[in-house]
C-alpha cells in the first residue's frame, strides 16, 4: 500500500492538474473567441460600410468606392477583399486585391444577418469572410415609389487568417507553457503542503518508533498535536500504559521466578559440588541423590504451576464446563489434607450444606479448592483451627475457608493474589512457590466464580469462594 503522503500528493496533483487544464482550455477558448469575434466584427462592420456605398440609380446599381478611405483593399501586402454581387451572381464590384478572382459564397440562403465562414482566398490563402445581403440605397435622383425594380445585393468582405492563425498558435504555445509552469507550481506546492500537513503524523511516527521495551514509561505529548490526532495520541498513550504494565508484570514475574529458582539451584549445585570435591566422604555423598531428586521435584512443581498460570492467562487453556459434584471433590480433598492437619494437630471443622451440582471445569475447580485447603493447613500454626463451610446465599453459594493466621495484616490482602508474593520473604522450608492463589484467582475468573480474601477477626484469615446462582444446575445433593 502506498503511503498517505504519496496518495494525497498524487491525487491532489492529478485533480489540480486537471483543474488547471480545464481552466486553461476554457480560458484559451475564450481568448480565441474574443479575438475571432473582434475579427468578425471588423469584417461585418466593413460589409455594412460597403453597403452604404451601393446605390440603385438609373435602373442599375452603382458602387462608389473611395480607395483613400479604405486603403486595406488596395494594399499589396496582406490586403482585404470585398465582392458585391446580385443574387444572380452578376458582379457589381470587387476589390482590386481580388483581381479577376471571386469570393465563394456560403451555403444556404443569405439575409441581412451576417454570415461568417472560412474560405480559400485567391492565391490559395486561407481566409475568413462575412457575407450580408442588403438592399442597395436609393440614388439621390429617384424617388422611393420605383423601388420594386430594386434587387438585393450580396456583399462579402474577406480577409486572410494567416495572422489570426499565427496569433492563435502563439496563444496555444503560451497556454502550454503557462500550463506546464502552473503544473510545476502545483507539484511543488502540493508536495510542500502535503508534507507540511502530514508533519504531525511523521513526528508522531518518529516518537512511536523511538519507544522500545527500555523506555515504555514514555508518553506521547498532547501539546501542539492537531485535533484530528489527539484521540489517536490518547489511545496510544493508554496502550503504552497497558504495555508498560504488562512488561512490568512480566519482568516482575520473570525476576521473581529467577529468584525463586536461585535457591534450589544453589542447593543443587552446592550439594553436588561438595560431593564431587570430597567423593570418599560418607557425610558429603550421603543423601545427595535423594536431595537432588527432591529439588528437581520442587522446581518441576514450580514450573508446572507457572505454565498453568501462563496457559490460563493467555486463554490457551480451554475451559471444559461440565456438571461437577462438589460432594465428591470436597471428599477427595478432605482426605488429602488430613495427614498434614493431624501432624500439626489442627482442629478442622466442616459445615457443609447439601451441595448442588454446579457447572464448572472439574480440574480447574479442583486446583482452586486444593490450593485453598492446602494453604489453610500450611499457614495455620500448630494446634490452630481450620473451618470449611458451604452455605446458600441470595447470590448463589459461598464456600468459606477460615483458619488461624496471626501473621497476616490488612495491608497484606491486596498482595495475596500477586504471583510469587509470600508473607515470609525468606521462604524458609516452604513447599509453596507463591503462585497458588494467583492461579486459583485466574481459574475462578475463567469459571465465572469470585474469590475474596478477608480478615474477619484478629488472627483469623478467610478465603471466600462465591459460586453464582446461574452456575447451579441441580437440586441440592445431601453431603
Amino acid at each position: 500500500m502506498k503511503s498517505i503522503r504519496q496518495q494525497l500528493t498524487g491525487l491532489l496533483i492529478l485533480s489540480l492538474g486537471l483543474l488547471c487544464i480545464a481552466v486553461g482550455l476554457t480560458g484559451r477558448q475564450a481568448i480565441r473567441n474574443i479575438i475571432l469575434q473582434e475579427f468578425d466584427y471588423s469584417l461585418i462592420t466593413k460589409a455594412h460600410d460597403l453597403s452604404t456605398l451601393t446605390e440603385w440609380e438609373h435602373n442599375e446599381y452603382s458602387f462608389e468606392f473611395v480607395e483613400k478611405r479604405m486603403p486595406e483593399f488596395e494594399r499589396v501586402n496582406n490586403p482585404e477583399y470585398y465582392q458585391i454581387s446580385l443574387e444572380t451572381g452578376d458582379l457589381i464590384g470587387r476589390s482590386r486585391s481580388l483581381g479577376a478572382g471571386q469570393l465563394s459564397l456560403p451555403a444556404g440562403t443569405l439575409s441581412e444577418k451576417p454570415e461568417l465562414y472560412h474560405l480559400i482566398l485567391p492565391g490559395g490563402v486561407p481566409g475568413r469572410a462575412a457575407a450580408i445581403t442588403v438592399m442597395p440605397q436609393w440614388g439621390e435622383k429617384y424617388p422611393e415609389p420605383q423601388q420594386h425594380h430594386r434587387k438585393p445585393v450580396t456583399i462579402i468582405i474577406a480577409r486572410d487568417t494567416l495572422h489570426l492563425n499565427e496569433l492563435f498558435r502563439k496563444i496555444d504555445l503560451g497556454f502550454i507553457a503557462g500550463l506546464l509552469g502552473l503544473f510545476l507550481v502545483v507539484i511543488l506546492s502540493v508536495t510542500w503542503i502535503v508534507r507540511r500537513g502530514l508533519r504531525p503524523l511523521n513526528t508522531l511516527a518518529q516518537q512511536v518508533v523511538a519507544i522500545d521495551s527500555e523506555n515504555l514509561n514514555t508518553r506521547l505529548p498532547l501539546t501542539s498535536v492537531p485535533d484530528e490526532l489527539i484521540r489517536i495520541v490518547e489511545q496510544l498513550n493508554h496502550l503504552l500504559a497497558r504495555i508498560e504494565s504488562a512488561f512490568q508484570r512480566e519482568r516482575h514475574l520473570t525476576a521473581g521466578m529467577a529468584h525463586e529458582l536461585y535457591t534450589p539451584i544453589a542447593e543443587l549445585r552446592s550439594i553436588t559440588e561438595v560431593a564431587l570435591k570430597w567423593p570418599d566422604d560418607q557425610e558429603s555423598t550421603a543423601g545427595v541423590i535423594s536431595s537432588a531428586r527432591d529439588i528437581a521435584l520442587q522446581m518441576q512443581h514450580m514450573v508446572d504451576v507457572l505454565l498453568s498460570l501462563s496457559r490460563y492467562e493467555s486463554g490457551v487453556q480451554r475451559v471444559d464446563f461440565r456438571p461437577v459434584d462438589l460432594n465428591d471433590l470436597l471428599n477427595e480433598l478432605r482426605q488429602s489434607i488430613e495427614p498434614s492437619a493431624q501432624n500439626k494437630q489442627l482442629q478442622v471443622r466442616y459445615e457443609l450444606s447439601p451441595i448442588p451440582l454446579i457447572i464448572a471445569d472439574r480440574i480447574m475447580l479442583q486446583t482452586v479448592l486444593s490450593n485453598l485447603l492446602n494453604n489453610a493447613v500450611e499457614y495455620t500454626p500448630s494446634q490452630g483451627e481450620v473451618s470449611c463451610s458451604l452455605t446458600s446465599t441470595a447470590c448463589g453459594w459461598e464456600l468459606r475457608l477460615t483458619n488461624t493466621n496471626p501473621a497476616l495484616v490488612p495491608e497484606d490482602l491486596p498482595h495475596l493474589f500477586e504471583p510469587l508474593w509470600r508473607k515470609d520473604a525468606s521462604r524458609t522450608g516452604s513447599a509453596h512457590c507463591g503462585l497458588g492463589l494467583a492461579l486459583s484467582n485466574r481459574c475462578c475468573a475463567l469459571l465465572g466464580f469470585q474469590l475474596e480474601a478477608s480478615l474477619p477477626q484478629q488472627n483469623l484469615f478467610r478465603m471466600t469462594l462465591t459460586i453464582p446462582a446461574q452456575k447451579i444446575i441441580a437440586s441440592p445433593v445431601e453431603f
Binding site: T263, I265, A266, I271, E273, I295, S426, T428
Partner: protein, 225 residues
C-alpha cells in the same frame, strides 16, 4: 578458624557446613536471623556467612545490629539477591564481601579464606614464621618444602597460632576458634594438641617453637638456627 553460617535452607546449611569443616574450619550454624545475631554477638567468629532473606530477622538487620554493637567480624553476604542495588545496600550496611546464589563452593571457600586472612591483617596466601610455611590455598603446613602431617585439630590450632603470629593466644581463644558450639571440650585437649604439635615440628626440623607463657597463653617464637 571459626565460621558462623546464618542460612535458613537446610540443604545449603549441610553442604556449606561440610565444605567448611573439610577445609578445617569450625562451623556454627544458625537457621534464622535472631539465632544468628545472638551467636554472632556472643561468640568470637573469624567470618560470618550471612543469608539476607531469613525468618524472624532479615540478614541486613542482623548485619546493621552487629555493626551498631561494634562487632566487626568480617561478614560475607550469601544471597539470591543479585541486583546491583542489593549488593550496594549490603556492602554499605557493613558487609565485607557479597556472593550471589547459585555459587561455586570453591569460590565460597576462597572468599572465606580471604576474609580470614584479612581478619588477621594478612593478604599473602602463604604465611611464614621461621621456616614454617602455611599454604592457605592448599591448606597445609610445610617445613623446608616438606609437608608437615597434621591431624585436623592440630592443623586448626597451629593455623590460629600462625595467623596471630606474635600475639599471645590463650586457651579459651583457641577453644573458641577451633571448636563448634556443640562440641564437648575436654580440659586437656588443647594441652595435648600443643604437645603433639611441638613434637611434630621439632621432628621436622622447624625453627619455630610454640612457647607457653604461663597463665597468659601460647606464642609462636622463631629460634635461631
Amino acid at each position: 578458624m571459626k565460621i558462623l553460617l546464618i542460612e535458613d535452607s537446610i540443604r545449603l546449611q549441610d553442604s556449606i557446613r561440610l565444605a567448611l569443616k573439610k577445609s578445617d574450619y569450625a562451623v556454627d550454624v544458625a537457621s534464622d536471623g535472631e539465632q544468628g545475631f545472638w551467636l554472632a554477638s556472643t561468640v568470637p567468629y573469624d567470618v560470618i556467612i550471612l543469608d539476607l532473606m531469613l525468618p524472624k530477622m532479615d540478614g541486613l538487620t542482623v548485619l546493621s545490629r552487629l555493626r551498631e554493637e561494634n562487632i566487626d567480624t568480617h561478614v560475607l553476604i550469601l544471597t539470591a539477591k543479585d541486583a546491583v542495588p542489593d549488593r550496594i545496600r549490603g556492602l554499605n550496611t557493613g558487609a565485607d564481601d557479597y556472593l550471589t546464589k547459585p555459587f561455586s563452593i570453591d569460590e565460597l571457600l576462597a572468599r572465606v579464606a580471604a576474609l580470614v586472612r584479612r581478619s588477621y591483617g594478612n593478604k599473602n596466601p602463604e604465611l611464614r614464621c621461621g621456616n614454617l610455611v602455611l599454604d592457605l590455598k592448599r591448606q597445609e603446613f610445610r617445613i623446608q618444602e616438606q609437608i608437615l602431617p597434621l591431624a585436623p585439630r592440630e592443623f586448626k590450632v597451629l593455623n590460629l597460632l600462625v595467623h596471630r603470629a606474635d600475639t599471645l593466644t590463650d586457651r579459651s581463644e583457641i577453644e573458641a576458634h577451633i571448636y563448634e558450639e556443640t562440641s564437648d571440650i575436654f580440659s586437656n585437649v588443647i594441652d595435648a594438641t600443643i604437645s603433639i604439635l611441638r613434637r611434630k615440628m621439632a621432628d621436622a626440623g622447624c625453627t619455630v617453637k610454640i612457647v607457653t607463657r604461663r597463665g597468659l597463653g601460647y606464642l609462636l617464637e622463631a629460634q635461631s638456627e
